[in-house]
């Protein structure tokens, strides 16, 4: 499951235009919806066994995949949600504690790392069986591993150097246990959260076939065989309309099975009667309902047609109305950060961006609190560093806990003037070049003007307004910001990792965080975005100390590695930190209990229950 | 003839807005069984008079006076009363039978409608049966089948017959034929006039014929009312009028009408007048040989508009090309000057081949020719001043000294040079045609194609324009292909006459021969059908024609 950047525009503005009757009545209500701590929303009452629950999916999140290996184009968030109810992954995090997996929901006991951190041994849980009666074994994991290894290029979540490249050797110890030798030492928290979560045992005794009607064998153990088996399974997995009927997919080990999977994206999960684990479902069925627009969802929500839905951003003022209809309204914070990368390799502004004092001045001009309150209607949380600010946890460094650069335009302006910038015609101009303490800094030439260009994602009023606010306050300290908005895909396309001499390096600042810029796996390390050589280090931020800290966070076993990293980057400002919007504002029927709003956007519907 | 008049118009005055008095004190009476012609040129108020009898004038018109139909004053009637009169007591036949019939309904439906509007209890079936009878009555064969046809499927003559059938459907006391034959070819016109005469005899209707054509008047009318500028200038029996016109205007009108008579040819002051037919002396101005022009017709089939026509015009010679509409005469004219590409055959202009000429050669050749069109309103660019229109050939051929030339040209067509700053729409039809002629002679052409240059003009205007044209031809000596449907005009201007019928050249020869001693049946019929403005002569010709 891909929990990183969510590519889909959930509530594209135009589709969410109209509200519903009688809402003017609610116009006076406070728009604040955050602050209700996630927890048990059931106000007492007795948990029931059985019953049905309907869950509303956001627009454009239509599920289209259940096979445990996702190919490109099949990484929508809800694919993973559905899949892990049917085919249990090795490990699942539920967000209540990001430091360790929720063993109950996975297929294996906690992993055991060697002292040197270079090998890991995993034992499968004893009580799990596939629907065909076979036990869930280490061989089933090996089957998955062999298919991945032979077909890694077709795996949507493959990153070169990471899984499975960083596994030197996969050894079956016994029926239930296997050991993996790693190519280097890794931080165990990181490895479990960011690598092992991708693994998922698959019923080798049912799926190890090369063609329709073929015999089961050990084909996966040769690369050629693995390719054939993979191709066959992927072919079957493409037949969406057969998800509920294909005998292959009946061989499940999770608490649910697929009962219905329509082409429009409606999915009904039914309690798996053959589930043998300790995390059996309370409910009989859970229906995931697709919606064409956020507005549509709101309308159905108001009619009581969903038990677990959400409020579109523009309907936040209707919170009271919704609550009066028997819902609990709670923001669902994402395990994400939102930021604007500086392109340090931009030939014009790169040298300017490399000056820490400039970045500090910029950061001090971002009025995060007001932006979050006025523009995001309190549905965004100010963020001060590389680790998600909420829920606060053990990874948050001291420096990041409180804003190191409070909003202060005077101070920001003073930073510029004290480094030799003078405001001419409203734009700060470098008058004292050089590397000294009161000079503009190395590489900044005399007469350089602080004129930045920002590429931003179009389609959201909140983003538009945020950028205008940024532009407005930057202009007050002498920085002229010009804004160009484009669709999200174009923004990403136009702000690649680049070298100064490349034409593609003309971008300076880029914002793509209407839905949050970066969603982390459970372990929020920065090797993908802030390491000097990271693939998504769009701005080519390069800082030896940061690199060191990133490396430590993934490969050292020190418990403070993450906190150090968090504190350093909060101060060193590799990007402009921006308020992070909530994943969604949920509306949950008061009769629905057992709901945990996993910041990583996962769900554990087997634990939901209805109360009387 | 002492019965009370079927239609009596007394002191009719019609004004539009506050100023324009279209009809000024007109009184006309038509008795049952009588045919009265109202004759006049455009703007004389004759059509307004006819329209007012049925209350069909636009609401802006103010009508005073009395119009009595069978003793009832039409002007005093309200909407329902008027409708009861329309069609039932007084019926009308209009000029353009194509547009006057509703294109969306079948002929039968439209005739039946006329019946059912006034006979509320007539069944649909009965109405259609009666419609068929009516169509037969107006000489349409195969009436049953025609009922189901749409107007566009019929020829112009048939359409006008349908209009008449519709008009007589309720056996009205009065039938008004408002320029009912103007849009028709002469042969068809003759038939329709015959039909009207028959209907009068059969039904005893009073018929009011509105026309500008003195030939038609002579052919059909018992009495004639001459109108000029909204007033009646003369009323008389048809014989008296033609024999002893009283009013000055009537006299002028009658002298203006070209007559198809031997000797009614212009006196040519030209010294070097060649013998007719001797075009070979010198290079011919235009030589067409085996000319074929095809158009893409319906269903992609090719229609021959011009079928192997050969014709030669000697230098300085005027050849009249006569034919009815659709005969291909205009196409010949346009092909001759290179506006249409022939499918085969050749055109030699002034000794050079036009068919193969391109670009500069073509333009050089065209410079020596010009063309005058029928409708001066459409042959002058409405967005250009008169001066610019005349100067255009000079500009195209980069000839300087334009101002003087334009002034001289205007003078030579007897227009004041100050006209040059005006726009075409501000001028009268005759003036516009003069401009067209001035433009045509601007480059001193050796050949002029005149395509019905006077057909859109009133007779008195036509006479002056023809005079002018002939004078210029005399003076400048250009050869001319004079295309017209009017035999009298051809008789007036042409040295030689060629007759076309459905794309083919039927007959060609010296004027006297073709017009007065035609060899071909078709020519004979054509000549016989043209009404002459002389009641006695016309009666004779009619008898002759019917015996043909």
């Amino acid at each position: 499951m891909n929990r990183s950047l969510r590519p889909s525009l959930r509530a594209a503005r135009p589709l969410a235009v109209l509200g519903v009757a009688a809402t003017l009545l609610a116009a006076g209500c406070s728009s604040g919806g955050s602050g209700t701590a996630p927890g048990d929303p059931a106000n007492g009452g007795t948990p029931q066994q059985g019953g049905s629950v309907t869950f509303a999916m956001p627009p454009n999140a239509t599920p289209n995949w259940i096979f445990p290996i996702a190919t490109p184009g099949h990484t929508q968030a809800y694919n993973g949600t559905i899949r892990q109810q049917v085919f249990l992954p090795l490990y699942v995090y539920d967000g209540t504690d990001t430091s360790k997996p929720d063993v109950k929901a996975g297929a294996a006991e906690l992993p055991k790392y060697s002292e040197d951190g270079k090998s890991v041994t995993i034992t499968m849980k004893d009580d799990l069986t596939w629907a065909n009666g076979e036990k869930v074994t280490a061989r089933d994991v090996e089957f998955w591993f062999n298919l991945i290894k032979a077909n890694k290029e077709k795996w949507a979540t493959y990153n070169e150097g990471q899984f499975p490249d960083n596994i030197a050797k996969f050894t079956l110890v016994d029926d239930k246990t296997f050991t993996m030798d790693l190519t280097q030492a890794y931080n165990p928290d990181w490895f479990t959260a960011n690598q092992l979560t991708r693994m998922s045992p698959m019923p080798q005794k049912a799926w190890d076939i090369q063609e329709a009607g073929g015999q089961v064998g050990d084909y996966d153990r040769t690369p050629e065989g693995a390719k054939k088996v993979f191709d066959y399974l992927i072919g079957e997995a493409g037949k969406l309309s057969e998800y509920a009927t294909n005998p292959l997919w009946k061989v499940a080990d999770g608490p649910f099975t697929i009962k219905e999977f329509t082409t429009t994206g409606q999915v009904t999960l039914a309690k798996n009667p053959k589930y043998t684990g300790e995390d059996a479902a309370h409910l009989d069925t859970v229906t995931l309902k697709p919606f064409t627009s956020a507005q549509a969802e709101l309308n159905v929500l108001r009619s009581g047609g969903v038990d677990y839905g959400y409020l579109p951003a523009l309907a936040l003022s209707q919170q009271k109305t919704i609550e009066s209809m028997g819902y609990k309204v709670e923001p669902w914070d994402g395990w994400a950060i939102t930021y604007i990368p500086y392109n340090f390799n931009n030939p014009e502004m790169g040298p300017v961006f490399k000056q820490l004092y400039i970045r500090q001045a910029v950061q001090m001009s971002v009025d995060q609190d007001t932006i979050a309150r006025v523009i995001w209607h309190d549905q965004a949380t100010p963020g001060y560093g590389p680790v998600p600010q909420v829920p606060p946890g053990s990874y948050l460094g001291e420096k990041q806990k409180t804003n190191p650069y409070l909003f202060d335009l005077d101070k920001a302006k003073a930073l510029l003037t004290s480094h030799g910038w003078e405001i001419q015609n409203g734009v700060a101009t470098c008058t004292r070049p050089g590397g000294g303490d009161d000079q503009c800094g190395e590489g900044v030439e005399q007469g350089t003007q602080l004129k930045f260009q920002l590429l931003t994602e179009s389609g959201s009023t909140e983003t538009d307004n945020t950028m205008q606010e940024l532009q407005s306050s930057l202009s007050k300290i002498g920085i002229a910001l010009s804004i160009k908005s484009e669709p999200l895909n174009s923004v990403l396309d136009h702000s690649p990792v680049c070298k100064p001499e490349e034409a593609a390096c003309s971008w300076q600042l880029s914002f793509f965080g209407t839905q949050g810029s970066w969603y982390y796996p459970a372990y929020p390390s920065g090797e993908d975005i802030f390491a000097g050589d990271a693939g998504t280090n769009l701005g080519s931020y390069s800082d030896p100390k940061a690199d060191e800290l990133v490396k430590a966070s993934t490969s050292s076993t020190s418990p403070t590695a993450m906190q150090d990293y968090s504190s350093y980057l909060a101060e060193n400002l590799p990007v402009i930190w921006m308020p992070n919007p909530a994943y969604q504002v949920s509306a949950i029927k008061k009769t629905l209990g057992g709901v945990v709003q996993d910041p990583m956007a996962g769900m554990t519907p087997q634990r939901w229950y209805l109360v009387k | 003839m002492t019965e009370s008049p079927a239609l009596a118009i007394k002191d009719l005055r019609v004004t539009f807005g506050d100023t324009v008095r279209a009809v000024d004190g007109v009184s006309v009476e038509v008795r049952p069984g009588e045919i009265v012609a109202v004759v006049g040129e455009s703007g004389s108020g004759k059509s307004v008079t006819s329209m007012s009898t049925l209350g069909l004038l636009p609401p802006t018109a103010e009508v005073s006076g009395v119009i009595q139909v069978g003793g009832v004053d039409v002007t005093a009637l309200d909407g329902a009363g008027l409708r009861a009169i329309r069609g039932a007591e007084v019926a009308m036949v209009f000029q353009e039978p194509m547009t006057a019939l509703n294109p969306a309904f079948t002929v039968g439906w439209q005739v039946a409608e006329a019946l059912r509007l006034h006979f509320a209890d007539m069944s649909k079936k009965r109405a259609y049966e009666r419609a068929a009878e009516l169509l037969e009555m107006v000489g349409i064969q195969d009436a049953k089948r025609r009922l189901g046809q749409f107007p566009h499927e019929l020829s112009g003559g048939l359409r006008q017959r349908v209009m008449i059938a519709m008009a007589i459907a309720c056996e009205p006391k009065v039938l008004i034929a408002d320029e009912a034959t103007t849009a028709l070819d002469v042969t068809v016109q003759a038939e329709i006039l015959d039909l009207l005469r028959d209907l009068r005899a059969e039904l005893g209707m009073a018929i009011l014929v509105i026309t500008h054509n003195m030939g038609v008047v002579a052919d059909i009318a018992d009495r004639v009312v001459v109108m000029y500028q909204g007033k009646v200038v003369e009323q008389a029996t048809v014989e008296d009028l033609f024999a002893r016109p009283q009013a000055e205007y009537t006299r002028r009108l009658l002298t203006s009408v070209p007559r198809l008579e031997r000797g009614a040819h212009r006196a040519r002051a030209r010294t070097a007048l060649r013998e007719p037919g001797q075009a070979a002396a010198g290079t011919p101005a235009l030589a067409l040989s085996d000319l074929v022009v095809e158009f893409r017709g319906e269903r992609g089939s090719k229609v021959r508009a011009v079928d192997e026509v050969s014709l030669t015009i000697g230098a300085g010679e005027v050849v009249g090309l006569v034919g009815e509409s659709g005969s291909g005469k205009s196409t010949v004219g346009r092909t001759a000057i290179g506006l249409i590409k022939p499918a085969s055959g050749s055109v030699r202009l002034l000794g050079e081949s036009l068919t193969g000429a391109k670009g500069r050669d073509l333009r050089r050749l065209r410079r020596r020719c010009s063309i005058v069109f029928q409708d001066p309103a459409s042959s002058l660019d409405p967005r250009m001043t008169v001066g610019d229109c005349i100067a255009e050939p000079l500009i195209i051929n980069k000839i300087g000294d334009r101002d003087d030339r334009v002034a001289a040209l205007l003078k030579s067509v007897r227009l004041d040079p100050s006209v040059r700053a005006r726009y075409p729409h501000e001028l009268s039809g005759g003036q516009r045609q003069r401009i067209g002629i001035a433009r045509a002679i601007a480059l001193d052409p050796e050949l002029v194609i005149a395509d019905e240059p006077t057909s859109a003009l009133d007779v008195s205007v036509q006479a002056t324009v023809l005079d002018l044209f002939l004078e210029l031809q005399d003076r400048l000596g250009f050869a001319c292909l004079f295309i017209t449907h009017d035999l009298a005009v051809v008789g007036l201007v042409a040295d030689r006459v060629a007759v076309m019928n459905s794309g083919r050249l039927v007959e060609e020869g010296p004027r006297e021969e073709v017009l007065f001693d035609p060899r071909e049946d078709y020519t004979r019929r054509l000549v016989a059908s043209a009404p002459v403005p002389d009641p006695a002569a016309q009666r004779e010709r009619r008898a002759q024609r019917l015996s043909l």
């Binding site: 009757a21 184009g73 549509a296 396309d493 | 329309r86 069609g87 547009t99 566009h152």
Partner: protein, 317 residues
């Protein structure tokens, strides 16, 4: 007739071919191609390259076009990148609903606009003509999304008699079962069309009023009402019908907006969502279907015209 049809179908094929070329080229000038949109921002360069290879985006444009066209010739519109379904089945599901929406709103518009236009044509320059013209202009000038908002405020809120949401049923029967929900979307679509149609009708009536046959009909003793509603009306319908054929893409554009406002699960939403996710096969397919519909629409309009206007019938026989 067959000849006419053959010619028109030939033209239509040329038009459709041109549409495929235009749309194909346009989509391929979009920077980056669809890979980024489908795979998400986190996708690596290798993943994007693999996606592009799989879908042939690494081939030359003519080659890609040929692949697409040969698929089309086999009736294959391709498969959606994101919805795991063939484009044809997706369009098949959605198009009846959009047809119902646009069809009904056009019908309503015609039923209102034709009498309105005729009536205005008769009373040209009168006070009522000016008044209706003003209303019609305002109707035309109001953006549909604004109009929809006003309709919702008035009919769903101030006077709460109608639901704000279109029926969500999967089937057509379901749509009609909740017919009250169809009222506002149809109304919104109809108002803009009324403006266009009634202007056409008014012009046509004005043109026809000046025709000679009107005088003939009057001279026959036909009442003014008969002249206008029978003679003139019949002839004035021709331009409306001719226009209807070409109105289809306009109607579809309108449907896109209306569907998104009233959450009507038709082609418009499918198209819009596909545009958001760069799902090229759906975009291509939808545009192609609309183009074909337009071409067929204008063909039908021609044939309909022949039924109304016998002159046209004569010309194409």
């Amino acid at each position: 007739m067959t000849r006419f049809l053959a010619k028109r179908i030939g033209q239509a094929l040329v038009v459709v071919a041109l549409v495929t070329v235009i749309v194909f080229l346009l989509l391929h000038t979009v920077p980056g191609g669809p890979a980024r949109g489908i795979l998400g921002p986190q996708a690596t360069a290798a993943a994007i390259a693999a996606f592009n290879h799989e879908h042939g985006f690494d081939r030359s444009l003519p080659e890609q076009y040929w692949m697409y066209v040969s698929g089309l010739l086999h009736g294959d519109l391709g498969a959606s990148y994101t919805l795991n379904q063939s484009v044809s089945s997706l369009i098949e599901q959605r198009i009846p609903k959009t047809l119902v929406l646009t069809g009904l709103s056009t019908l309503v518009a015609l039923l209102v606009a034709i009498p309105l236009g005729v009536w205005q044509g008769r009373r040209r320059k009168g006070l009522t003509d000016y008044f209706i013209t003003t209303l019609v202009f305002i109707g035309y000038a109001t953006p549909v999304f604004f109009l929809a908002l006003i309709l919702v405020i008035v009919f769903a809120e101030k006077i709460p008699i109608l639901p704000v949401q279109a029926p969500q049923a999967e089937t057509l029967a379901g749509l009609f079962a909740d017919s009250r929900g169809l009222v506002l979307p149809i109304l919104a679509g109809a108002i803009a069309s009324v403006a266009v149609f009634s202007r056409y009708m008014r012009s046509a009536v004005l043109d026809n009023l000046a025709e000679d046959y009107v005088r003939t009909a009057r001279a026959k003793g036909a009442s003014e009402r008969r002249v206008v509603w029978l003679h003139i009306m019949r002839n004035s319908l021709t331009p409306i019908v001719a226009m209807l054929g070409y109105q289809l893409p306009v109607l579809f554009s309108g449907a896109l907006v209306i569907e998104s406002v009233f959450n009507y699960p038709g082609m418009g939403l499918l198209f819009w969502n596909a545009a958001q996710t760069s799902d090229y096969p759906i975009l291509l397919g939808a545009v192609l279907v609309i183009a074909v519909a337009t071409v067929i629409g204008s063909l039908i309009a021609d044939i309909l015209q022949a039924f109304i206007d016998p002159r046209v019938r004569g010309a194409i026989k």
